[in-house]
């Protein structure tokens, strides 16, 4: 599972970086989205991968932390998703404004430059 997970993050990051470096604004925003997916998966993976483990530890019985999932990365990834999503939406608005003002979708506003 770890190998597939790592491969997925790697592929997402590589495609994201390639797209961010492209000259069209739409490609940049797609690249940023892919990068944010990769980063979110990465944060999630930092809390150790586990199937079927609950993130809440029962305090009544003496619980073994090894049987439970780490709740902190799940909280972090939630925040990161929300922030990343909001920023991407904002970027989309600016992208459209730039398209409207310059008349093309080049990142510098001028395909010849």
């Amino acid at each position: 599972m770890e190998a597939i997970y790592a491969l997925a993050i790697g592929v997402l990051t590589a495609s994201g970086v390639w797209l961010v470096l492209r000259p069209r604004t739409f490609q940049v925003i797609m690249g940023l989205s892919l990068l944010s997916y990769a980063v979110n998966l990465f944060i999630f993976g930092m809390g150790r991968l586990m199937i079927g483990g609950a993130p809440i530890i029962e305090t009544v019985a003496q619980a073994d932390p090894a049987l439970y999932d780490d709740p902190v990365p799940q909280a972090l990834v939630l925040t990161a998703i929300v922030i990343g999503f909001a920023m991407t939406a904002l970027f989309l608005v600016v992208l459209l404004a730039s398209r409207g003002l310059t008349g093309n979708d080049h990142v510098d506003g001028d395909p010849e430059a």
Binding site: L32, F42, P73, L76, M87, T88, V94, A97, S98
Partner: protein, 532 residues
Amino acid sequence: MLLFTEARRAARTIIALVATLANLLVALALAYIASDAVPSIWPDGIAVYPLGGWQAPFGIVLVLDRLSALMLVLNAVLALTSLIYALARWRKAGPHFQSLFQFLIMGVNGAFLTGDLFNLFVFVEVLLAASYGLLLHGLGEPRVKAGLHYIAINLAGSFVFLIGVSLIYGVTGTLNMADVAARASLLTEDERILFETGIAILGSAFLLKAGAWPLNFWLPPAYGTAAPPVAAIFSIMTKVGIYALLRLGSLLAGASGASVPAPFNDGWLFGIGIVTLVLGTAGILTASQPQRLVAYCVIASAGTLLAALGFGGTAMKGAALYYLTSSVLATGAFFMLCEMIDRTRQTGEDIPLEMMEPVGQEPVDADFTDDVVGIVIPAAMAFLGMGFLACALLVAGLPPLSGFIAKFLILSATLTDTAPGPVPVTVWVLWTSVLGSSLIAIIALCRMGILLFWSSDEIMIPRLHLVEAAPVAVLLLLSVALAIETGPAMDYLNLAGNSLSSPQIYIDAVLSGNRPSGPLPAPSIPMEGIRQ
């Protein structure tokens, strides 16, 4: 503030002014208590406030020490002056100026106060989100183009930040800065490699925010095209990155025992700082627009700061903090002044303001000094000329203003910290680049001043409002006061520098949950923006 409709400008303005003023008062009070004025309240000038009552390292803590108190005061001063400046016309150029402005202040305050890495990320995102909106304030094609680049690079930077934070969490199992530093020395060899990778990734994100080469090509267009009051408050934003580098670097240096990981250790910071300084100075020389010139001055000051901090030594820390204070005040005033100077020229009118009519304040140029023999200089032009001169002196570091004292302190600190004997190469490099950049800055600023004030035929006497001239005058007078009161200021800044050099006190204070015994003013600062 968001609840009011756009029409209720007066109500928004009053709330914004009151909130910003309260922010300044709270910041001043915190700085006063954090200095050794009342040692009974906060021992060592460190106050820890656990949010929600959760003790560190399990909950998020807000930590106030002398460095963060200093940054809070700077931010509050700059916020109040640029808000008053914006009242004249800029707040009308687009919607939600006031709300975004308060969010920006909240984000900057929070970033200076937090003691938690992920919380730092959240506050940085809050301030970035507000800054995206403010940068686009007033719209226009150059702003949208600069904004597009600015948002893209900062989004990428945020992802780098997140990767760094989560790597550090994966290795150490904690996000609290003090706890990270305390555990760094307990790591095994394999974990240490991962940890240093995480720190390096995190450090690059901070360097991006600080405007360090080679991650600063977004800065001149963004700062050069932003609305002037916005650009003025942005000049503290690059210092958020420097603050984070300083804070984490100091914690890691004290606790890990081993060498400090890559971008935080002295060699790296020094090298990056020197290159940033040299390239920023080259930019000053090439800039053809006043506001863009100031943007390059921001880069040059970031470079000087990084180089000075990278040079190391306790005396240097106090001197660098003095330079930081002086340069933030100077660039803030300079950005606002540039816009007023711009009004004397017919060209460069690319600012599509919806409403240009005065809001009813007394124009400064009402009292013409026309009984003087000789060429009549209207008061407005005289003010602009004097202001430009003062800003130029501050940025270039000539006496008698605080810019000179700041650079003098940095250069003298290089000599006090080194052992007797032959002068090391780093001292030579620092001296040459700091003095050389001052010389080039003088040349470029003289040229700009001559072009602006003396050699243009169609100079128009600008209409200045008192609310526009007063903030610039206040910022400049503050730097004069800083120059006069160098002794007391340096006492405080040296205390701040000393506490950075002994991070174990900070770590102990945070991890022992050292609650202040007095009333708890700490949370009132980040809450201010929320209350709007």
